[in-house]
Amino acid sequence: MSLLSAQNLAVRFGGAEVLSGISLAIEAGEIVTILGPNGSGKSTLLRALLGIVPLSAGQVRRALGLRLGYVPQKLSVDRSMPMTVRRFLSLPKRVSDAEATAALVRVGLPDVEARQMAALSGGQFQRVLLARALLSDPQILILDEPTQGLDQPGEAAFYRLIEEVRAQTGAAILMVSHDLHVVMAASDRVICLNGHICCEGTPRVVSNAPEYRALFGLGTKGALALYQHQHDHSHDHGHGHSHHAHEDHAHD
C-alpha cells in the first residue's frame, strides 16, 4: 500500500480552480519531485496533501499511522520570540537531548543547540528544519522548496543530504522544486504540474516529454536551455499555436 495518495484531488481558492484532477501515490523509499512553474500550484498541492488546505473535490489517503516529517517553504521565527535551536527541536513533541544532538549531527550541524533560531544563516536554518522533521522518525518527508534562498553549493549540499537521509532511514521523500537540473539528478520520479499533472515518470522520460518542454522550454536557464530551440512558445516568434497550446496537449 502507498504511504500517501491522492485521488482526483481538486482545490479552489475563491472561484478559481488552482488544482484539478490530481491523482498520485507515493511509495516507500522513493524520491518524488513535483516540478512546475510559478503559480502552478506546487506548494498548494503539498499543503492539500498535508491537510492544511481544504479540498474542493477528491480525497487524500494516508497509510495507517503514517509518520510524516514536514519542512515548510519558509518559516520566520519572529524576533519577538526567543527560541534556541534545542527548544525548537522539541516542538511540538518533546525529545531528549541525545536525540536532538543526534539529529543535528545527522544534518551536519553539530554544536548549534544553544544558538538562537533567528541568528542562523539560511542554510543552517533549513538544516535545523530538516533535523526537526527527522526527529519524528518519518516514513515520508515532505519538503516545500527546501533550498530557496541558498546559493548553488548550499543547494547541492542540501540535496546530497536528502539522498543520504533516504539511504540511511529509507524514508520516502516528496519535494517541490523549480531548480531543474539538481532535481533531475536526485529524483526517482518527477511529476510535472501546472494546475493538473502534465506528465510524470523518471527524470529521463519526463525531460523528453513534450508537455515538460512546453512548460519549461521557456525562460529557464541551465540544463534546459537546449530545449528552447526545439519547442518554442515565445511571443516573439509568432508561431501559429496560441499561448495556451501547451495546456491542450497536457492530458494523457
Partner: protein, 262 residues
C-alpha cells in the same frame, strides 16, 4: 502590623501577574497588542451592562470581553484589515461603554476606578475571582503550551503535526477575555493591554527561550504590581497608571541591560 487590605492588594497583583506573564508573551509573539486593547476596552461596556442589569461586574465584563474577543478573531480569520477593524472596535466599545455608564445613576464617581483600576479596594471576593481566573488561564496555557508555541511559530507546521491552529487561537481568545475580566479591578480597562505587553517585552530582552520569557514576564509583572501598589498607597496615585509606569521602568532597565550585554 500590615493591614488586610494591603495584603489583599498585594495578592491581587501577584494573581494578575501569574496570568499576564505567559499570556502577554503570546500577545507579543503573535502581535496581538491591538487585539488586547479592543478586548479590554470592551470591558467598560461590560461594566455598564452589569450595572444596568444588576449582574455582578465580573460577569458583565467577562461576557462582553468574550464576545469582543470572539468577534475580533472571527473577523481576523475572514481576512479583514486588522488594524482598522480593531481600531474601530476598540474605540467604539470604549465610547459606547462610557456613554452607557453615564445613564446608570450614581456611578460617575466610581468611573475612574473602572478606567484606572483600584487595587487598594480589592475585596476578599474580588481576590477569589482574580486567583480563580488566573489559575484557569495559567492552566489553559500550560495544558496547550507545546501546541500553542508550535501554532504561533507556523500554522503550517502545526497542521502537519496534526494540531489545529484554529483551536489554539480559540484557547488564547478565551484566556484573553478571562484576563481582562480579572485585571479590570487592578489596572483598569484602559491599561490592561499595557500590563500584558510591557512586562513581556521587558522579559524578551533578557530571555533565551519562550518559557524563560513567560516566567520573567510574570516576575516583572509582579514587581510592577507591588511597586505600583506602594506608589498608589503613599502618593494616592491611580493604581493602573502607577503599575504600568513601574512596568515601563522595568522595560527600560531590561533594554539597557541587554544593550550592555551585546
Amino acid at each position: 502590623m500590615i493591614d488586610d487590605f494591603l495584603i489583599r492588594a498585594g495578592l491581587a497583583g501577584l494573581g494578575l501577574a501569574v496570568a499576564t506573564g505567559p499570556l502577554g508573551s503570546f500577545v507579543v509573539w503573535r502581535r496581538m497588542a491591538y487585539f488586547g486593547d479592543a478586548t479590554s476596552h470592551a470591558a467598560i461596556l461590560g461594566v455598564a451592562l452589569a450595572l444596568a442589569l444588576h449582574l455582578p461586574i465580573a460577569a458583565g465584563t467577562l461576557i462582553v470581553a468574550l464576545t469582543m474577543a470572539l468577534t475580533v478573531s472571527t473577523l481576523a480569520a475572514k481576512g479583514w484589515a486588522m488594524d482598522t477593524t480593531l481600531g474601530v472596535l476598540a474605540h467604539s466599545a470604549l465610547a459606547f461603554g462610557l456613554v452607557a455608564i453615564s445613564y446608570v445613576p450614581g456611578v460617575r464617581a466610581d468611573l475612574s476606578s473602572y478606567l484606572f483600576g483600584d487595587i487598594l479596594a480589592v475585596t476578599p471576593m474580588d481576590l477569589g475571582f482574580i486567583w480563580g481566573g488566573a489559575v484557569i488561564v495559567l492552566g489553559l496555557l500550560v495544558w496547550r503550551w507545546q501546541a500553542l508555541l508550535t501554532a504561533t511559530l507556523s500554522e503550517d507546521l502545526a497542521h502537519a503535526s496534526g494540531l489545529n491552529p484554529d483551536r489554539e487561537r480559540l484557547v488564547l481568545t478565551l484566556a484573553l477575555a478571562l484576563v481582562v475580566a480579572v485585571a479590570l479591578k487592578i489596572v483598569g480597562a484602559l491599561l490592561i493591554a499595557a500590563m500584558l505587553i510591557i512586562p513581556a517585552a521587558a522579559a524578551r530582552a533578557v530571555s533565551r527561550t519562550p518559557e524563560a520569557m513567560a516566567v520573567i514576564a510574570s516576575v516583572i509583572g509582579a514587581l510592577a504590581c507591588l511597586a505600583g501598589l506602594s506608589l498608589s498607597l503613599w502618593q494616592d496615585t491611580p493604581a493602573g497608571p502607577s503599575i504600568v509606569s513601574a512596568a515601563a521602568i522595568c522595560f527600560a532597565a531590561a533594554a539597557i541591560i541587554s544593550a550592555f550585554r551585546r
